[in-house]
């Protein structure tokens, strides 16, 4: 047996990463595998319009993090989809909110879910929250050729860090750069409006009800100011997605709960 073959067990970097395993053995299955090389002109003309997800946000509170998003996907000035889901449970203690080109972003969320579960099964334990955040960064970096063609994906990632005993959240840039936010962040076309709103309403160590209310107020403000962001649709019964992540896992707020909070906010604002 040669020296190289026993070393394989140590050098095999794809041993517990699904993403690296696909990259080495079946790269055609990865999103963006057929994207042109950056710098080369697109094959023919510009990228046709594709649906874009708009506003997602996350904020820390006393027991963990709240992560929330509106339900609209836009294609230019058109509504592409009214009840898209932008907040995906990544595993039992973390979630991704996707903003940007909806197709590649949802694909990335699915790949990320598989990546975390794969690691957990192969290694027999969960990745640390930092480890998860870094893996997501690597996927965004791998998407760079697609981003150069206009298919930008910039998620936010939030989760409960068991080792630190608190909720944490991360934002990303298009190169996969990962930045931890201490309090709150919002991403997407209405992200700035949501951030402005959260700046006023955010307090450290808020109780859950206040945090949920702050999140929904921010989404309302974003929908007010930004064309791409969808407001709550009382007629069709479409409400923003809100999830809380604590030590004991991820909980979805029911539509009923979300509607009740929205009613309270709107009546306070005089249904303006």
């Amino acid at each position: 047996m040669t020296l190289g073959s026993w070393r394989h067990a140590f050098d095999n970097r794809s041993s517990s990463s699904f993403f690296e395993y696909l990259r080495q053995t079946a790269p055609h299955l990865l999103p963006g595998a057929d994207a042109p090389i950056p710098g080369e002109p697109p094959a023919s003309g510009a990228m046709p319009p594709v649906p874009h997800g708009t506003t997602v946000l996350a904020l820390r509170y006393r027991d963990g993090v709240v992560i929330a998003g509106d339900r609209q996907a836009s294609e230019g000035y058109q509504v592409a989809h009214r009840r898209i889901e932008k907040i995906f449970k990544a595993d039992d203690l973390s979630a991704v909110g996707i903003a940007g080109a909806a197709g590649p972003a949802m694909e990335m969320a699915r790949l990320f879910q598989t990546e975390l579960e794969h690691y957990e099964k192969v290694e027999g334990e969960n990745l640390s929250l930092d480890g998860k955040a870094n893996r997501l960064g690597a996927m965004i970096r791998a998407n760079l050729p697609m981003a150069m063609q206009g298919l930008v994906v910039v998620p936010i990632f939030a989760g409960f860090d068991e080792r630190a005993g608190m909720g944490r959240l991360f934002k990303y840039d298009v190169t996969g750069g990962r930045y931890e936010e201490a309090d709150y962040f919002a991403q997407g076309s209405g992200g700035k409006d949501a951030r402005d709103s959260l700046k006023k309403s955010f307090r450290r160590d808020m109780p859950k009800d206040d945090a949920v209310r702050a999140a929904l107020e921010a989404l309302l403000d974003a929908a007010d100011e930004d064309l791409g962001t969808g407001g709550p649709d009382f007629q069709r019964g479409i409400y923003p997605t809100v999830k809380t992540i604590t030590r004991s896992g991820i909980t979805d707020l029911t539509d009923e709960d979300v509607r009740r909070v929205l009613d309270a906010i709107l009546s306070n604002r005089g249904r303006s």
Binding site: F18, Y21, L22, A26, L29, T114, E117, K121, V122, G124
Partner: protein, 230 residues
């Protein structure tokens, strides 16, 4: 150049099979038992860190006996197979049958082509869902032989006696505690000592769970289940 010794293929296969069987029979046994809510897997395994029973996918579990490094390799290959399939098609398209076939092919190739065969046997179990689909238990041997088993399965050291005991004592629709007690009694048939929760690794594929049906049963729960009235 000296001619290599001639060994007839028949003799070579016989020697390899005997070698593999010897290795496997030295190890401790594992049983799988169908119970009311799914499939129960019980292994005699004093280690709490090195597992013989593991999750492969939503409804699929794996168990291996024999050499740890060999079945561990097979397990990781199985997780990859399942995750790639689930990612490129859909989660519902991942089946124990395809995985069991892959193991059968792989072990068959190793047995015929490599000098040393794998000294392992594996079980691949898939729990049926609530609307009537059946449980599946596949038993794959060191030479790639594949069998599908009903109600119960046993492999590892002295598994023939264990299987005989299960055949005589298995009943349909056992609850978890009863199935566990049956499994532990079956493992004790071949030895004089009593097995406690510290000697056991136990997991279930529980069809009442959401999405991922695999669940390990921790020692303190085992203790209660073993103590509960027969």
């Amino acid at each position: 150049m000296p001619l290599p010794y001639y060994v007839s293929p028949e003799q070579m296969m016989k020697d390899k099979a005997e070698y593999a069987r010897k290795g496997i029979s030295r190890g401790k046994a594992i049983v799988a038992i169908e119970y009311r809510d799914g499939i129960l897997l019980v292994a005699e395994n004093p280690s709490t860190l090195l597992h013989k029973i593991s999750e492969i996918y939503d409804r699929i579990a794996f168990a291996g006996v024999g050499k740890y490094n060999e079945f561990e390799n097979l397990r990781v290959a199985g997780v990859r197979h399942a995750d790639v399939k689930g990612y490129s098609y859909s989660r519902g398209d991942v089946s124990a049958k395809a995985l069991a076939n892959a193991y059968s092919q792989g072990l068959g190739n190793i047995f015929t082509q490599d000098i040393k065969p794998f000294e392992v046997e594996v079980l691949v179990c898939e729990v049926g869902d609530a609307n009537g689909s059946k449980n599946e238990i596949y038993h794959i041997l060191y030479d790639g032989t594949i069998e599908d088993e009903k109600n119960y399965a046993a492999m590892g050291g002295q598994s023939d006696e264990i299987r005989r005991y299960l055949k005589e004592n298995f009943k349909d629709g056992l609850d978890l505690a009863a199935a566990l007690q049956l499994g532990v009694r079956a493992l004790m048939v071949t030895q004089n000592k009593t097995l406690t929760e510290r000697d056991l690794e136990v997991a279930v594929l529980d069809r009442t769970k959401e999405r991922r049906k695999f669940r390990r049963i921790p020692a303190e729960v085992l203790n209660q289940l073993l103590a509960s009235a027969k």
